[in-house]
Every structure is written in C-alpha cells, then in structure tokens.
C-alpha cells in the first residue's frame, strides 16, 4: 500500500525496517537519541537528530543500538568505521555535509581504502547519512552540496534521492551494501511528501531513473534538481518542447548507460546541479557525454549550476543562488534554437 509521506518520514521508516531486519544495524551520531532515554528526568523520547529522522528508534531498539555521541565528528566517524570493520552495519549521522572537513580522514583514508588495502578481506559496511544543499536559510556553513567530494573518492559510494520513495529504497540498499555509502539528504526536500510503499524494498545503487519521457532535450538532475528539472519540463511542454528527465539517484557509481541512452534519444543534454560549477557532477556528466557520446551530441552540453560562490544567507540571494526552472528552460531553449 502506498501513502503520501515526507522524505523525512520515509528515511525514518527505512531506519526502523533496517534495524528490525538486522540486529547488526546500529545508529550513532550527535543527538540521534537526542537526550532521550533519561527516564529519571521523565524523558523517554526526544528529537531524534536535528531533523527528527531517528525519532522512535531509541524507544524501539534501545540505547545499545541508538547511540548519542559527543560533538566530535572525528570521534564518532572513527568509531563508526571501526564498528563496521568488526561486522556491524553502522549508520552514522553527519548532521551537515559541511562538517565533513573535521572527519574526513576516517572516510577518505580508512573507510574508502581498507577493503582495497586488505585485498578484500576487510569490509566496511558503513552508511553515512548527511544533509546537503541550500533551501532552509542555513547560511554558508550549513548549506553546501559537497557530494562531488565523496563521489570523487574511490572506495566510497554516494547516493542522493529526489523523492521519498527513492529515499527509503536507497537508504535500505545503502545500509545493506558491504561498502561505505554516503547517503545525501537534500534539505529542501525533507518535508516534501510523495507516495511511498509500505514494507521493505530497496532501490539499486548505481541505477538512474527516467522520471519523465520526452524526445527533444534531456534534463539530467539529482536530488533537489530533479524537481527543478521536472518543473522546467512542464514549462517547456507548454511551448511544445518535450523533455526527458533523468534522475541520477547515484552519483557514484554513475549510471553512464542511462545518461548515454537519454543523450542518444534527444541529442541534447542540460545537466542541473545545485553545487558550484567547478569540479562537479555536472562537469562530470558533461565530460561523459563528450567522451563516450560525442557522435550522439546534437548540440553543446549545457550546465545549469550554482555560481562559484558560497551559499548566501539572505533568503533573496539564496533563492537566486540555486538553479531555477527558468534557468533550465533558458538553457534548453538555447540548445533547440
């Protein structure tokens, strides 16, 4: 049965299902229990992380499996990597991906490398849940889209859902994957509802989804920009332009086949990315199109990204910073002539 629930609830549901199904799944991070479990103070349940994604886990699975940590990303990320090496399946919550700087070593040099350096004898079935992107007026240090960084580290997988149903299925797949996966939660979508099936299911890592079919131009997005692209596709349809919209879902592994398939169909690609333009996923997709799809190109590849600047705090400026449907429409129009 399907119900409409926000992405936040879908993530919460996935965590419940994963912990129910596998006693090795544990959750740790800052405020994931949120001070709950203090019966002596009359507090049984609390926030469950800054957004409330882990709410209810403490009561259901107990403090052994749902662990609050000190405000030390380096500490709990190191602990999570160690726990994964010993056979647990930890889900660590990095409150904002902006904080990755203070815990990069356990991810970059440990989690990402151990399976490789031990010749496959070690596994790191770690999931890092982390919120990404602008949209909640959280300013320059809490709004970045740094998924390009983890996607660029061999040994790490990086996924980012664009809707509640994919959020649930991708998170379950990430937790059950034997390699470290960074699960990005687009802030702007956390309270947006969509249909989600009940029960346990997974969405395969490394598989993009064609979320709208068209023939004239391909709009490629991921996370929040899928919604931007879908809106742009509606605007284009009014002018008789039919757009394919591809949701990458996984940034690493990247579904190259799906990108080249939509390029082959329309010959024209606009990539929409919330991150700044340099060294990003949009550049990566554009490079793929030119490298492996050169003879399919019927127009230049256009990138629609944030500017090369920090995310502004001013709501007006923040709204101007992120890619808009109108910018995507303009880019598509420029390709169609």
């Amino acid at each position: 049965m399907e119900r409409d629930i926000p992405m936040l609830f879908a993530i919460n549901e996935a965590l419940h299902l994963a912990m129910e199904a596998d006693p090795d799944v544990i959750v740790l991070g800052e405020d994931v229990a949120g001070g709950g479990g203090r019966k002596d103070q009359g507090i049984e349940e609390a926030w469950g992380g800054i957004m409330g994604a882990t709410r209810g886990l403490l009561k259901r699975f107990g403090p052994e499996r749902v662990r609050d940590t000190p405000i030390s990303e380096m500490g709990f990320m190191g602990a999570a990597v160690g726990a994964a090496l010993t056979g647990l399946r930890p889900v660590a919550e990095l409150m904002f991906i902006d904080f990755i700087g203070v815990c990069l070593d356990p991810l970059l040099n440990q989690a990402a490398k151990l399976r490789y350096m031990f010749g496959g004898k070690a596994r790191v079935p770690l999931t890092v849940r982390t919120s990404t992107g602008a949209g909640l007026r959280s300013a320059a240090q809490h709004s970045q889209s740094l998924y390009w960084m983890t996607a660029g580290i061999p040994g790490l997988k990086t996924v980012i859902p664009s809707n509640p149903a994919d959020a649930k299925g991708l998170l379950l797949a990430a937790i059950r994957d034997d390699d470290p996966v960074v699960f990005c939660e687009p802030k702007a979508l956390m309270f947006v509802s969509g249909p989600v099936a009940e029960g346990d299911y997974t969405v395969p890592l490394g598989k993009a989804a064609l979320v709208r079919e068209g023939t004239d131009v391909s709009l490629v997005g991921f996370g929040r920009t899928v919604q931007t692209a879908l809106r742009a596709a509606e605007l284009l349809a009014r002018d008789g332009v039919s757009a394919d919209v591809l949701d990458l879902r996984s940034l690493q592994p990247l579904d190259e086949e799906a990108i080249l398939a939509t390029l082959g169909k329309t010959g024209r690609v606009v990539v929409v990315d919330e991150a700044p333009p340099r060294c990003g996923i949009a550049s990566d997709v554009a490079a793929l199109c030119v490298d492996k799809g050169f003879d399919l190109l019927n127009a230049p590849v256009r990138k629609v990204t944030a500017p090369h600047a920090p995310v502004p705090f001013s709501p007006v400026l923040e709204d101007a910073y992120v890619p808009t449907p109108e910018a995507v429409v303009a880019a598509a129009r420029a390709l169609l002539g």
Binding site: G267, D295, L297, N298, A299, G337
Partner: protein, 426 residues
C-alpha cells in the same frame, strides 16, 4: 451559419504563416471578397479575403502570432446575434498542419534573430549530424542548418536524407528534387537563376487546382544532385527536364528557366503542350551579365543576407520597395532561399547562361507551340522580353506594368492568372 477562415497554404513549401493584421474589428460587417486579414508567408505579405459575407464574429489568433497552415484563424457568422459557440467551432475547424514530416518539403533554413546563415566551410555541424551524415552518405555542408546559429543538426540531416530518397533520376549520377502538387495534365515550372521552385509558391496552388504541377529544382539547387564533373549548361538542364516527362507537358520557365524552356521546346517540341516564358531573354545584355557576376561573387564571399540585399533593387520595382516592411520581409525570404543555391551552382549556371546567350536568337522563329510571354514593365535585367515574344510565331505577350524582373514574386496573382488563362485555352 458560420464560415471558418484558416491559415492558408500558399505553396508546397509553406508550413506556417504569421498573422500581420486584422484590418476589421471583431463584430464588423464584411462583404465576401473584402480584405479581412493580412498574413505573412515565407515569401510575402498576403491579403486574405472574406470567404463569405457576414460578421467577423470571433478571432482566434491575434496579430503577430505565427501558426501552422490549417490553423483556424477566425469565424464569420451570417448575423451578429445568431448562436455561436467559439470553442465548439474551433474543435471542428482547427486543422493545423503537422510539423515538418520526414517526407515533406524541406523548410527554409531558419535564421534565428534575423541573422544570417553562411554556407561556407565553417558552417557548424553537430557531432550527431556529422555521424548520421557519414552513415547516410550525405555531405553535411550541403544540408541547410536550422539549429542555433545555423548549425546543422541531426534532424536537418534526417530531413535532407528523407527528401533525397524522393529524388527523380534524370541522368547518370544526377537526380532532381521535383516537388509535385495537384492532378491533371502536367505543368512543369522552371525557376530562374539563383532560385528554386519556391519562387512559384504563389502560383502553384492556383495551377494545382486543375493540373499536375511539377516544380523542378535544377542540378545543384536545393536537394538536387550537384555532381562536380557534370555539365550545367542550358542544353543539359533542358535534357534533364525532358527525362522527367513521361507525357507532354505545359512548360513554364522564368528568366534562365525560360531559356531552359526555349531550349527544350526547340529540341523536343513533341514533349510540350504549351510554352510560357516569364521575363525571358535570348541574349543576356551587359547589365544582366554584370549583375550575375556580382551575385556569384557576393554569394561566395558574403552572407545569404548580403546576397538578398544586393538583389532587391535589381529584382523589384521602386513601387514595391517603397514599402519598408515589404522590402524587409522580401529580403528575409530571399536570404532563406539563397542557401538552396550554393555558390558553386551559381558559378556553373552563370557559365551556362553566358554560353547559351545569343545561340538561339534566330531559332525562335521555328517555335510552333502555343506560347505566352509575360514581361514586366520595370524589368532592368531582361528588358527585351517583348522582342522575344515578337520573334515567336503566334506568341501572345502579357505585360505586367510597374513590376520588375521578379514579377512572379511581385505580382503573383497577375502572373498566376495569366498562366492559368493561357493553359486553359489549350
């Protein structure tokens, strides 16, 4: 009762038109035949007459909008107060033509922002178009580009290839683009130097009502083959036309096309039912040769728009050019046509014209076909049309005053009517 007024299709190449103005307000009484609408097609501004008397009841497309042929533009009701459901009427009468189908005629190269399409070696071709062209054996430089900046796209190559499949072979290694329309005895249209059959866009619908109209794009023009080693002289082009015909035809030629028609009539008189010569010549004078020379040079060195601007004063009368809007639209129309006759074709056709010039002066007396010669009063390029008529036994001459060399474009109704009357008398 309501009568529909839809965007007309004024020629084989017309796919859409722009509503320029509605001279009458909604609610006005109109007589049958009164001008109720002005549209702009590929070639020119056209006044559209009311198909019935009544009241201009509803206008569906405002001024300034471009819509496909067949789109419902307005409804005329007999009286001002009879019941009329605009939406229901639209559902029944709105029949817009589908966008360019693979088998349809190639639309003129789009010129975004009024810019120009340069058919030089640098014309950009997208990788997908290049790959498809390679697979289909198409030379991408010959394909008119409709992408941004005149870029040749995959769709352009596809459309070109689809049209190429419909070509008619006329000689070893030469196949011609011959768009046809209507049914009946064949009427062959031969365009002038540097243009293609779209120059007859306004006459074709009139003729197609009674005849099977075959527009012939000569060697090197439009989609027709342009073999490097082949001949482009007038006799060869006449032989191409003869090869197309499987029964005797009415042959209509304009300018250099008239030269081809004369040649055909002299060599294969049995293949013709009648002859119509529009602004013909048998001896190109110094001015015509100088204009042709400039035309060839500008086409190889400058943009299509430059070619169009050069030609305007030679091709159109002072009265026609006095209307600035009309002048600009005509320039755009010529610029859209120019890429269909690339510079090498111009140079070859010019050489053919020079070689033919004067060679048939005395032979005109041998012509025994029913012949109509249409001359223009203000024709700078071929002013001796009446003398041509005088040299052909029994030829009738119809002069269109105040029009110049491009009389078929400048006075389309008069020319269409003259041809129709001439053919009907046969």
């Amino acid at each position: 009762m309501a009568t529909a007024l839809a965007m007309p299709k004024l020629g084989m190449t017309m796919r859409e038109g722009r509503v320029v103005s509605w001279p009458q307000p909604v609610g006005a009484r109109v007589e049958k035949g009164a001008v109720v609408l002005v549209i702009e097609s590929e070639k020119a501004e056209v006044e559209i007459e009311a198909p019935a008397a009544g009241v201009l009841r509803h206008v569906y497309v405002p001024e300034g909008e471009t819509v496909p042929s067949g789109t419902l533009l307005a409804a005329i009701t007999e009286t001002a107060d009879e019941p009329f459901d605009a939406e229901a009427f639209r559902r029944v009468h709105d029949r817009p033509e589908a966008p360019a189908a693979a088998a349809g005629p190639v639309p003129p190269a789009a010129v975004p922002g009024g810019g120009t399409v340069r058919r030089t070696a640098e014309t950009p071709v997208t990788p997908a178009a290049r790959a498809l062209a390679r697979r289909l054996g198409v030379e991408p430089a010959r394909v008119p580009g409709t992408g941004p900046g005149g870029r040749v796209t995959r769709e352009d190559v596809e459309a070109w290839a689809a049209r190429r499949r419909a070509l008619v072979p006329v000689a070893e290694g030469v196949a011609l683009e011959v768009p046809t329309e209507g049914a009946g005895d064949p009427v062959v249209l031969l365009p002038g130097f540097g243009t293609d059959v779209s120059m007859f866009a306004r006459q074709i619908p009139v003729l197609a009502e009674r005849w099977h109209v075959l527009g012939v794009n000569p060697r090197g023009v439009g989609l027709s083959d342009a073999p490097e080693e082949a001949r482009y002289d007038v006799a060869t082009m006449a032989a191409d036309v003869a090869a197309l015909l499987d029964e005797p035809a009415h042959v209509v030629g304009a300018s250099l096309g008239a030269a081809v028609a004369i040649e055909l009539a002299l060599v294969h008189p049995e293949r013709l039912r009648s002859l119509t010569l529009i602004t013909p010549f048998v001896e190109a004078d110094a001015r015509l040769l100088a204009v042709v020379d400039a035309w060839c040079r500008v086409a190889s060195e400058a943009s299509a728009e430059a070619v169009a601007r050069l030609l305007l004063p030679w091709m159109f009368s002072r009265a026609y050019l006095a209307d600035e809007g009309r002048r600009e639209r005509t320039a755009r129309g010529l610029a859209a046509t120019a890429p269909r006759v690339p510079a090498p074709t111009l140079a070859r056709a010019a050489a053919g014209m020079r070689a033919w010039s004067g060679s048939r002066r005395t032979d005109l007396a041998r012509l025994a076909l029913p012949t109509l010669v249409i001359v223009a009063g203000d024709d700078l390029l071929t002013p001796d049309g009446e003398a041509v008529a005088g040299a052909i036994p029994g030829a009738r001459c119809r002069a269109v005053p105040r029009a110049a060399h491009a009389v078929a474009l400048e006075a389309p109704e008069a020319v269409g009517e003259a041809i129709r009357t001439h053919l009907e008398a046969r």
